[in-house]
């Protein structure tokens, strides 16, 4: 399939994804128990025993009592003119909430993945080149242990040690680079283990491949062959994973955002759904889905353009 067709297919897929997911979010207040308008009012005013008139007036203001499809149509209409609507709680443009949040999450997920990539390249290469020896066994055990760690148990313990006991790092917040250390560490754990395994097996495969043997036969030393031929090849599976993980982390860091009081995307969507602030939830989900599809799409495309085997469409069978 040509790159152009790939792009087109992605775009269509993206459109469908955005429509479907935003509609799914949109349905929530219509099918869940409780009055969404009261829920909105409660978010504005704690213990607001809003009377019926207020509920009516508020619903009126945002057209919340219109038929479901009318409401969705209205949202769609606005959406296609680039307007994600107004938050039902603050009355301000959704973009004003979503864009800073996605910025935060992008930087958080980005740093976590960057850290994970660096660490896992190191670990993966070590363990692939020492396959079967103790460094490999140790690293393999670590990678299997890392994915089993419940981050919601580890994070409080780390805060306890690093922030409370030793006062080395901030306990929460999102302002200084130091405040990123713990969240990034926690977020990076699981990717590290998956990436390390990917790098390890990629490098092992590359080590066994004939062109590396040929490179050695050409007179390249072990290290040269490793640096020039093995590692670049061994990292191929890693890049495809990074896309998926990036997509997953975009909205998937709710736990970390809650524990470290980080105003990111996961948290925003979580709160918006809880408070029935559907435009914000929709906007958030749409942005997350778009970013995720874009990231995986771009990686897919880069992969296609850069890997000759994929590009020329090696026939299998």
């Amino acid at each position: 399939m040509s790159p152009l067709a790939t792009v087109l297919r992605r775009v269509v897929g993206l459109g469908a994804a955005v429509l479907l997911s935003s509609f799914a979010v949109f349905l929530v207040p219509f099918v869940s128990p409780g009055d969404p308008v009261r829920s909105l009012l409660r978010a504005r005013m704690d213990f607001g025993e809003a009377d019926e008139a207020t509920v009516q007036a508020y619903a009126e203001q945002f057209g919340l009592h219109d038929p479901m499809l009318v409401q969705f149509g209205r949202w769609l209409g606005r959406f296609f003119t680039g307007d994600m609507g107004l938050s039902h709680i603050s009355g301000t443009p959704v973009a004003d909430q979503v864009l800073p949040a996605i910025g935060v999450t992008l930087s958080l997920a980005g740093s976590a993945l960057l850290a994970a990539i660096l660490v896992s390249i190191l670990l993966g290469v070590i363990s692939a080149t020492r396959a079967g020896q103790w460094p490999d066994k140790l690293i393999t055990s670590i990678t299997h242990a890392l994915i089993a760690i419940p981050e919601y148990a580890l994070a409080p313990l780390l805060v306890l040690l690093f922030a409370v006991r030793w006062a080395l790092l901030p306990s929460a917040g999102y302002d200084s680079p130091a405040s990123l250390v713990l969240p990034v560490f926690i977020l990076a754990l699981r990717p590290i283990s998956f990436f390390t395994v990917a790098v390890r097996s990629g490098v092992r495969q590359a080590l066994d491949s004939e062109h590396v043997l040929a490179a050695r036969a050409r007179g390249l030393s072990r290290t040269q062959a490793l640096a020039r031929h093995v590692v670049p090849h061994g990292l191929l599976p890693l890049w495809t994973m990074v896309g998926v993980w990036f997509a997953g982390l975009l909205g998937g860091s709710v736990i970390v955002e809650v524990i470290f009081a980080i105003p990111g995307m996961g948290r925003l969507i979580f709160d918006a759904i809880t408070d029935a602030d559907i435009p914000v939830a929709q906007g958030g989900v749409v942005v997350v889905v778009t970013c995720a599809v874009l990231v995986t799409g771009i990686i897919d495309l880069i992969h296609k353009l850069s890997d000759p085997n994929v590009r020329i469409g090696v026939r299998h069978g």
């Binding site: 491949s209 062109h211 040929a214 036969a217 390249l220 072990r222 040269q224 085997n309």
Partner: protein, 529 residues
């Protein structure tokens, strides 16, 4: 016992300054307890081309890897490797790096697989010259171009910028040679560098290799399983069998009758026994009428097969040749009904309205059976609709038809040899009572001995059961050996279709002429035998 006569070149006095010598003494390679190569000894001097022949799995590749010190970690080597008297096997990794590529370099079987798909030919060459790093490229550009031109790649500048997958097989093999020559080595170990090429390319590359070897005076160790291809270029021949060097002699002597049995076997397999092609006149069993195939979307691009008409008679052996990508397989798949023609049609119904049963035997014996299943299970695919007892009988029958014991059915593919698997594949095809067998490169993955056996089996089946065969091969020897009629494909087009003898003597199309000419390079063998 054969060592006695071979000592003459091992023990030859060393010419210290001039003649370089690469020597291996009692070289053994083992995997755990298992000896894969035992006490091999031999030598190679510069300016000499020594062929190493032997059947598949006999240990030829291990020999080269052991010399280079590049055995996989799980294998252990013992013995001495001497380069001008220097023990290579005792050199450290660092010192060995100075030897590899610079003093001894290698050629491989599949050039595209052994080149880094992301690197240009230029980068490969620079790397081989030991010139990595920024800015070196420009400085070494003249040498890069000179090397490429030396191996006949024009225009060199353009080719240097290409990546392996942008080259044809022959070009890639030449590029590989350029890379091997880049650091001006004294010895080249060539591990079946031509086996993936069609006959024309093969002849070209062989001649090129021989020329370079003589011009530059390097020593070449040329590994192959095909004796015919080396008889004009090799100075000496070493025969390997089951991990042992069983015979070696000057090339001319290899054809004498009193050589080692293994040598005889190889020689015989290579000898194209000329048989009388049959001319069949029975009606068409399978017919292609203006059949064409285009794989591109909505048939916009180039057709893989242009409209082709051809008729296959009962009991006929049709040889199909053509270079890679010329549409041979496409044609076979159309005939077998595995693919629908884009235009035209394939007529399978002749005499009496019953459809002709067509079966295909694939190229790769190892991939035509599920590696996880016992052969019996895989085979039963053809008869699983029958009652168990009957199916069992049919399988036993088929096995005897291909000359294999039934016990083989209980094995897994990994436990069988390539030749056996190819027979099993034929047996499986026979279960469906085919009238036509299409063999798409069915023998090219096999060594020459196994290849010969399979071809004989096929011809025997033709005689006994009246099967029609379509033998597809890029190897003219195979075509000549087996076929009654020859069809030549060139760039998706059937350019020539005539009886074998006509074809050999009076081919019309230029490509056909090239094919016949390439055949001549090995033709003298007949006389020698």
């Amino acid at each position: 016992m054969y060592w006695v006569e071979t000592t003459f070149w091992i023990a030859s006095p060393r010419r210290k300054s001039m003649a370089k010598e690469l020597e291996f003494i009692d070289l053994s390679v083992s995997s755990g307890q298992k000896l894969l190569l035992s006490s091999a000894r031999g030598a190679l001097r510069s300016g000499e081309l020594v062929a190493v022949v032997g059947r598949s799995g006999s240990g030829k590749t291990l020999l080269t890897k052991a010399i280079m010190g590049l055995l996989p970690e799980q294998l252990q080597a013992e013995g001495q490797v001497l380069l001008d008297g220097q023990r290579l096997d005792q050199l450290g990794d660092k010192a060995m790096d100075q030897v590899r590529g610079r003093r001894i370099s290698m050629l491989f079987q599949q050039p595209k697989r052994v080149m880094n798909p992301r690197m240009t030919i230029r980068a490969h060459l620079l790397e081989a010259m030991g010139a990595h790093g920024w800015g070196k490229a420009r400085q070494h550009e003249p040498r890069v171009l000179a090397l490429l031109e030396e191996v006949g790649l024009f225009p060199a500048a353009q080719i240097a910028g290409k990546r392996p997958d942008q080259l044809s097989g022959g070009m890639a093999q030449r590029a590989m040679l350029a890379i091997a020559l880049a650091a001006d080595p004294e010895f080249i170990l060539a591990d079946e560098p031509t086996s993936s090429l069609d006959s024309i390319l093969k002849a070209e590359v062989l001649q090129l290799l021989r020329r370079k070897q003589q011009e530059r005076g390097v020593g070449v160790l040329f590994i192959t399983h095909d004796i015919a291809s080396i008889q004009h270029i090799a100075d000496r021949v070493v025969v390997v069998s089951d991990g042992q060097i069983v015979d070696q002699c000057p090339t001319a002597q290899i054809f004498s009758k009193d050589r080692h049995a293994k040598t005889r076997e190889l020689v015989e397999a290579a000898l194209p026994a000329l048989r009388e092609p049959r001319t069949e006149t029975s009606g068409c069993l399978l017919e292609a009428v203006e059949a064409s195939k285009n794989y591109t979307r909505r048939a916009k691009g180039q057709a893989a097969l242009k409209p082709t008409s051809l008729c296959l008679h009962g009991g006929q052996v049709l040889g199909v040749v053509g270079r890679s990508g010329s549409g041979k397989s496409t044609f076979a798949r159309l005939l077998a009904g595995l693919e629908q023609p884009t235009t035209g049609r394939i007529i399978t119904e002749h005499n009496g309205g019953t459809a002709t049963r067509v079966q295909v035997i694939a190229q790769e014996p190892y991939s035509s059976f599920d590696p996880n299943l016992a052969i019996r299970t895989s085979m039963s695919a053809a008869v699983h609709r029958l009652p168990v007892e009957q199916a069992r009988e049919r399988m036993a029958q088929a096995m005897s038809q291909v000359g294999l014991p039934v016990e083989l059915l209980e094995r897994r593919p990994g436990q069988c040899s390539g030749g056996q698997l190819q027979r099993l594949a034929i047996a499986r095809a026979l279960l469906t009572n085919p009238q036509v067998l299409i063999c798409d490169e069915s023998t090219s993955a096999l060594d020459s001995v196994a290849q010969r056996h399979i071809l004989d089996l096929l011809l025997e089946l033709r005689d006994k059961m009246g099967l029609s065969l379509v033998v597809i091969s890029h190897d003219m020897d195979v075509i000549r050996y087996a076929s009654d009629d020859v069809a030549v494909f060139y760039e998706g087009e059937l350019v020539e279709h005539r009886p074998l003898n006509d074809f050999l003597t009076s081919a019309e199309h230029q490509h056909s002429k090239d094919l016949v000419a390439a055949l001549d390079i090995t033709a003298a063998a007949t006389a020698a035998g």
